[in-house]
Symmetry: C2
Subunit: 134 residues, 2 copies
């Protein structure tokens, strides 16, 4: 399917044809994850109002929740001043955005130590990933 459209041309896709996309909980403002989108992913996200990304590891479109059932209902799509970062406001079905089984991917918090600092895990695993991805 062709996805020619001026609003897609306005996005500054990087050398790999991608931009980072932030998924933010529309109700709480919590940042749940950051993934990548190509042109097709953004077009499909806008058309279906479901979070669709491009998986760099699998080199294909990744419809968030296609395995886990944890789809994202998108209520708003924003673009930053440089046209190179997308922001989605979403409802995270199942309440788990992270592949580790946590609500948010940003579960590591910097904590000063005598050695300079450490990343401390602050969020619980809500569901065993083995049970999410069968």
């Amino acid at each position: 399917m062709s996805v020619a459209s001026e609003w897609l041309d306005a996005v500054k896709w990087d050398a790999h044809g991608l931009v980072p996309a932030i998924a933010q909980d529309a109700a709480t403002g919590e940042i749940l994850m950051v993934a990548w989108m190509n042109r097709e992913a953004l077009a499909e996200t806008a058309r279906t109002l479901r979070g669709v990304y491009f998986s760099r590891s699998r080199n294909r479109l990744w419809r968030k929740g296609e395995e886990s059932g944890h789809v994202q209902n998108v209520s708003e799509i924003r673009l930053d001043c440089d046209n190179d970062v997308v922001l989605l406001k979403i409802e995270q079905v199942g309440g788990i955005a992270c592949h580790t089984g946590r609500r948010s991917c940003f579960f590591q918090k910097y904590t000063p130590t005598e050695q300079g600092g450490a990343w401390v895990t602050t969020e619980p695993v809500l569901k065993n990933p083995d049970e999410i991805y069968k």
Copy 2:
């Protein structure tokens, strides 16, 4: 200055030695901007609790607010599950994070149209950039 430290080694710096960093208003949850950090920028941010980035266009450390006075007081530093995106919770002094004079850089909102869609500006300019950067 040497910034050798295990917590900095844990970050997955890209081929250019950078990671994207999201600045989020600590009080409201609003996403204000996304910029890049190198190792020095993250180390200095953690040490000073001020938002410090790496400017790719100027190829040097960028202490946010160094020209505008709009510094960022950092209350929390987080890292995502892949160790390649940083999240800062901040207080934006002056209330303006964007170089366009707007509160947030994410002022363009996708709006469906008959032609497929358009990016519509939704946030006002609070201060003329010419008055911010003298």
